[in-house]
């Protein structure tokens, strides 16, 4: 038990350290949030009027769960940036030379990033309600939706850790920041896949982030824009399965990359 409680205490130390960044440099999370709100306004009001949802429904109601999922997807950059900075600075090597478990650092990071994302999500949801987003599901379903969003964020976290440990060249972070855009757009976040050309719609349906967004729409009682297909029937199971699969791939890869850092 003592080994476990020591690991828990050390994890919390790392989390506290990561949380202190908000206090010292609040601009990064504030900017992230402002950016999400800007996207919300651009799509909700500029483009939204021209977008039809198959099966009908209000576009803003369709859009907001997509925005929540998008901000979870962007979390991959936050995590990767933090991991890359630590590794470059040599602080990761010092962590590795300490007599503590190898899972402490990523777990501490995970806890801090999830807290960060939970706060972002809360602000986005309150903002959404203020501009007229409707939630028609029950409280329990809404909580499950929030849980699924954070579950997806956890998968992005492990991908971010893996990328941060593996691709440390100048510009790697920028490449990821650019590449998340096509990943974000090639999904059901902004428009329904059924309105896309066949093969594109197919890819968008199978984008892991689409499952999370579809499940949230279902649970919040928002229009899903889906009439048939796997996502229409199995959105929630898929929103559970996709992150699980990603974590099962990237958590071991990250652990391996961490052990091999200075091989």
């Amino acid at each position: 038990m003592s080994a476990l409680s020591t690991a828990a205490r050390q994890t919390w130390v790392i989390t506290q350290r990561d949380l202190k960044y908000w206090q010292r440099e609040p601009w990064a999370p504030i900017f992230n949030l402002a950016f999400s709100i800007m996207l919300l306004l651009v799509f909700g009001y500029l483009f939204g009027g021209a977008i039809e949802i198959p099966g009908g429904g209000d576009y803003l109601d369709y859009l907001l769960p997509g925005m929540f999922a998008l901000s979870m997807l962007f979390g991959v950059e936050t995590t990767m940036g933090a991991i890359t900075a630590d590794t470059k600075r040599g602080i990761t090597d010092r962590f590795r030379s300490l007599p503590m478990s190898g899972v402490t650092v990523p777990l501490g990071r995970a806890l801090a990033d999830l807290l960060n994302s939970a706060v972002q999500l809360a602000v986005l949801m309150v903002g959404g309600l203020l501009v007229g987003w409707h939630v028609d599901g029950g409280w329990g379903a809404a909580m499950l939706a929030v849980g699924l969003l954070l579950w997806f964020r956890l998968a992005m976290l492990w991908i971010g850790i893996y990328l941060g440990l593996t691709f440390r060249a100048e510009g790697a972070l920028m490449a990821v920041q650019v590449l998340v855009w096509p990943l974000g757009f090639l999904s059901n976040l902004f428009v329904a896949p059924e309105t896309m050309p066949g093969w594109l719609g197919f890819l968008a349906q199978w984008n892991p982030v689409s499952a999370t967004a579809a499940a949230c729409r279902e649970l919040f009682g928002n229009p899903t824009g889906l009439s048939d297909g796997v996502l229409a029937t199995y959105a929630v199971p898929l929103a559970l399965a996709w992150p699980l699969l990603l974590i099962a791939i990237f958590a071991p890869l990250s652990a391996r990359a961490y052990r091999r850092l200075s091989k």
Binding site: R9, V13, K20, Y21, I91, R94, S97, L98, L261
Partner: protein, 313 residues
């Protein structure tokens, strides 16, 4: 007798296409400063990474205080402190917060970590800056805090990988003073450096590395003696005097500088100096400059790491 702080035997480490360590042997005596000296690419950092459990070596044996770095990594980590080439501090946290964080990661309770942090900040002359962000520190201050962070649990063995690279002269002197204090308090230090004066100033013993193996080892004095002890260097004003001097003295001529270097005989440098002065005086040769000095560590180093052996100068 307790095992030595570090014992390495025939350590090999290959990366994809280069051999970083090629049969490295090293033993460090307790309570000393030991310098690993070598040019870039000699294997210094790889050696430190292997000794501090960050990198696994391919063959050979490395024992830290008797614990095998591969099989008993956790026990080794409890025994060592590491100051790598990159400053391993969080720039956004205050100096004190950094030390408390590392103390708690080492398993200290919060209050114990705070006490130890205060003690180290005082000892390293950082008390005034303790509650400022590390990103506002000078290079020398960051290095000192970095060393302090590695000393939280009073390790038996401290690794310093090029601790003064990139510092201004003031910062270097402060870091040197910090390193001396570390050893006075009973910690053994292994430091890597490419600065000869640093090894000369700080180290009790020096191991010269080249291409992943030991090419010389000893105290600074022993290494210098290995190059033939003292030498007398005479410089004359013109070519005629130089020609006469070359006939007269049994030494190594350098026509460009109109200089002859005479190695000291078995009776010692002073005796050789007297002999040289007497014969120059008797021949009536005017002298511009006359010095007696030991070889510098630079000369030893250049001699040892020269691509072919037997090259003079």
């Amino acid at each position: 007798m307790p095992p030595p702080p570090l014992l390495a035997r025939a350590v090999h480490k290959r990366y994809a296409d280069t051999t970083a360590l090629d049969g490295l042997d090293l033993e460090i005596a307790s309570g000393t400063i030991h310098a690993l000296l070598g040019p870039n690419g000699a294997g210094k950092s790889t050696a430190v990474n292997v000794f501090s459990t960050l990198t696994r070596h391919d063959r050979g044996e490395v024992l830290v205080a008797g614990h095998d770095v591969r099989r008993q990594a956790a026990r080794v980590r409890a025994e060592i402190g590491l100051v790598g080439q990159a400053t391993a501090l969080d720039p956004m946290l205050h100096g004190r917060e950094n030390l408390v964080m590392f103390g708690r990661l080492h398993g200290l309770a919060n209050s114990a970590a705070r006490d130890r942090a205060a003690e180290l900040l005082e000892g390293f002359g950082l008390a005034d800056a303790a509650d400022r962000k590390v990103s506002t520190y000078s290079g020398g201050m960051q290095r000192r805090l970095d060393i302090a962070a590695a000393l939280i649990r009073r390790p038996g063995l401290l690794f310093l990988d090029e601790p003064t690279t990139g510092l201004d002269p003031r910062g270097r002197l402060d870091v040197w003073a910090a390193i001396r204090r570390v050893v006075e308090q009973g910690t053994t230090v292994l430091l890597t450096t490419q600065y000869l004066d640093e090894a000369d100033q700080l180290a009790d013993r020096i191991t010269v590395l080249g291409a992943g193996r030991v090419i010389a080892e000893g105290t600074a004095g022993e290494l210098k003696d290995g190059l033939g002890g003292d030498r007398v260097i005479v410089t004359v004003p013109d070519a005629t005097a130089f020609a006469r001097m070359v006939d007269l003295l049994d030494g190594e001529p350098d026509p460009d500088r109109r200089q002859v270097t005479v190695a000291a005989g078995p009776a010692g440098g002073t005796h050789t100096l007297m002999t040289v002065v007497r014969s120059l005086d008797a021949a009536g040769i005017r002298v511009d400059d006359l010095v007696l000095r030991r070889p510098t560590l630079d000369e030893v180093f250049l001699h040892l790491t020269a691509p072919t052996t037997g090259v003079s100068r």
